[in-house]
């Protein structure tokens, strides 16, 4: 009797659930051809950009601004009392700064989609997705008084503009470096081969960046070591080149101790020696050194992937005026100098080079040295239309990068 009742309830639950599913299936859009059309056009970069209006004039501050930023970009003195370009801004404009650190570009895209944030410091593998997804608005550069001082070769680039319309304010640029513990790793590495070498003596203590965009690092290494594959640009990979990169990452996996996304855990691992070798950012090297770790970061002979970040404003920004004021402030000479030095990157404002505490900062980070950036491949968003201009093949789009990365991490 009890079992019968139990079965009846179970069946009615299943029936109810199926009914709900069928109702929702009916509610969702109907024809199959609709979706294929959208899929096709969305996959190519020739998609129509959503029509989002830009701010026409600057009004009074709204009292607060919510920012999604890379760690180290928005410092208010809490990490290091001498490192603060936020408190002054808050006093001057009355806009209280609330910052959320994103660990990866995927994180940032997801956060911006919620509509809860006003400004984001997007790298190239996030910016285009945000533009075409309608999550960010074009920037009215007339409202940014510091914009004319930004280096010309950072403005209106493929990752921060569409058809000549700027979608953000360039922040600065940097390269991903190869970190190594100088007291443990001997001899000092000069090539990315150190993290891909199957016979590495540091097996189990190597790290890699935990994001699908790291596949480009593997492609970069193959560019130098397997030229027959014909990779010209690590973000434009056809299926064969992509499979070769994934194969390389699979041979690397046994060497990896941890994949890092949280920069503080990464710094802690470098300090304790759980990680002795691997991809890093200059800010991590600076923080680790500050805690007494003997560590260095180099740009290996093959070159490196890098990033040129862009401050973008949300299409649903609740504090647009404060947002513009922040974007203007962060590329002002003093603030840009401050963040460039703290994070360890080249500033975007040419005037910042005179204001850095270390007079050689711009020289060290090659702010005006165009030759340095020739073998730095800024993060970009892979699309089906090959970004290197090839039209005879289809390249693997970012969504497939995500799936492949997930398989790699989970297998």
């Amino acid at each position: 009797m009890e079992v019968q009742m139990h079965k009846k309830r179970l069946f009615s639950f299943i029936a109810g659930l199926s009914a709900a599913v069928l109702i929702l299936a009916g509610c969702s859009s109907s024809s199959n051809s609709d979706s294929t059309a959208t899929e096709e056009s969305a996959a190519s970069t020739k998609t129509a950009v959503p029509d989002v209006p830009k701010l026409e004039s600057l009004g009074a501050g709204e009292g607060a601004v919510n920012i999604v930023a890379w760690a180290g970009y928005v410092e208010n003195g809490s990490t290091d009392p001498k490192v603060d370009w936020v408190t002054g801004f808050e006093k001057e404009t009355g806009c209280k700064v609330n910052v959320k650190n994103g660990a990866t570009s995927d994180d940032m895209v997801a956060l911006m989609k919620t509509g809860e944030y006003d400004v984001v410091s997007a790298s190239g593998d996030a910016s285009l997705r945000l533009i075409y997804g309608g999550d960010v608005a074009p920037v009215n550069t007339d409202l940014i008084s510091n914009y004319p001082d930004v280096f010309e070769n950072l403005k209106l680039q493929p990752w921060n503009s569409v058809d000549g319309v700027p979608y953000g304010v360039p922040h600065g640029r940097g390269a991903n470096l190869l970190a190594y513990r100088t007291d443990i790793v001997n001899p000092a590495p000069t090539s990315w081969g150190a993290v891909f070498d199957a016979n590495s003596p540091y097996k189990g203590k190597i790290t890699a960046y935990d994001s699908p965009i790291y596949i480009a690092d593997a492609a970069l290494y193959l560019m130098a070591t397997q030229p027959d594959l014909g990779i010209k640009y690590p973000y434009a990979l056809d299926q064969a080149q992509f499979d070769a990169s994934i194969a390389l990452l699979n041979t690397q996996k046994p060497l990896i101790g941890e994949y890092w996304g949280d920069y503080l855990k990464h710094v802690a691992s470098l300090k304790s020696g759980a990680t002795v070798l691997g991809t890093t950012w200059q800010v991590n090297i600076n923080l680790a050194k500050g805690e007494g770790t003997k560590v260095e970061g180099i740009k290996p002979t093959e070159g490196s992937t890098g990033w040129s970040d862009t401050w973008m404003i949300s299409s649903k920004a609740k504090h647009p005026n404060c947002a513009y004021m922040w974007m203007n402030h962060i590329v002002s000479p003093e603030a840009n100098a401050g963040v460039a030095e703290w994070f360890g990157e080249a500033p975007s404002n040419a005037k910042s080079c005179d204001l850095t505490a270390d007079k050689n900062h711009c020289a060290t980070f090659h702010a005006s040295d165009d030759a340095y950036w020739n073998d730095v491949y800024y993060w970009n968003t892979p699309t089906e239309d090959c970004l290197d201009g090839r039209t005879d093949v289809k390249c693997v789009p970012y969504s497939e990068w995500v799936k492949a990365w997930s398989s790699l991490r989970n297998s």
Binding site: L17, S29, D106, D107, K113, K265, S406, S407, N410
Partner: protein
């Protein structure tokens, strides 16, 4: 007004029942089951590959992808293995502890011991797992320092570390139901068993365990389900190992439909588990 309402309710016993149940039913049906249903329905949608916006089109694509990709099968089996290992380890550790507290310890010490078992629950999850991280650190962690001289080295970060961490976290949840079950076990049963000539192990196997079975099941539901969905421990002390929760966590922000698809797996596993538990009748005597 109030008197009228009271009179009306007095005359209608069904209305009284309904009013009593409306709040918990609301929570159960709309907040819980409704949320669960909308999650499962999302599993049948996909996202636009470039912009990442959800495409509200009914399709089985996510399920096909999940079943055809070997990596996800590995994650499911790995997570199941970890959950089972944690349950078994917790049971093995909890039984002697609970037995000591309920049967052997003096009544005054009993209360102190129970309080001591519950004290770790006051510390935050993250604090405990980060403590384990520094203990398991290969080379200069506490475990290496303590056990190095006798030749045992820390397992480092990975599967064993996850099992150790999760066992530590869920042990109180296993001890308490067993302790409660043992409290209900009359001591004269043990005496009678001994008088009839049973040795300790026989008494344990044939008298104690069958009576404890519902408590073991209750405890195992905690440890199994909590381990099945865990992802934070894997992130902190798991090295590069991923569990089901990690896959959901990595996907829910950029590909919510796929994360929903993955999360139907632990839901199904728990449903099957609970169904098996119900079949054994353990729930009836809880």
């Amino acid at each position: 007004m109030l008197q009228k309402l009271s009179n009306a309710m007095h005359r209608r016993p069904r209305a009284r029942l309904g009013a009593l149940l409306v709040a918990p039913l609301f929570w159960l049906v709309i907040a819980y089951l409704g949320a669960l249903a909308s999650l499962i329905v999302t599993a049948f949608f996909t996202i636009n590959s470039f912009t990442g916006n959800i495409v509200y089109q009914f399709t089985f694509a996510n399920f096909i992808e999940m079943f055809s990709e070997v990596a996800y099968k590995n994650v499911v089996l790995r997570t199941l293995g970890i959950a089972l290992a944690v349950t078994v380890l917790c049971t093995l550790l909890a039984l002697p502890m609970a037995f000591y507290i309920s049967k052997i310890a003096k009544p005054r010490s009993q209360k102190i011991l129970v309080a001591l078992i519950l004290t770790p629950l006051w510390a935050s999850y993250l604090v405990k797992i980060y403590a384990w991280r520094s203990m398991l650190e290969p080379g200069n962690g506490v475990i290496d320092w303590l056990l190095g001289p006798i030749g045992i080295s820390s397992p480092g970060f990975g599967g064993p570390a996850i099992i150790i961490g999760l066992t530590y976290l869920w042990l109180p949840y296993m001890i308490l139901p067993i302790y409660a079950g043992l409290e209900r076990l009359p001591n004269n049963l043990l005496d009678a068993s001994g008088d009839l000539g049973a040795r300790n192990w026989y008494t344990f196997r044939r008298v104690i365990l069958p009576l404890l079975f519902p408590s073991l099941v209750a405890g195992s539901m905690f440890t199994f389900s909590l381990s099945l969905g865990d992802y934070i421990t894997a992130t902190i002390i798991g090295g590069k190992l991923q569990m089901l929760g990690n896959v959901v966590y990595q996907n829910f922000s950029i590909n919510l439909p796929f994360a929903a698809t993955i999360s139907t797996i632990p839901i199904t596993i728990m449903a099957i588990y609970l169904w098996m538990v119900r079949r054994t009748g353990a729930l009836a005597s809880l």
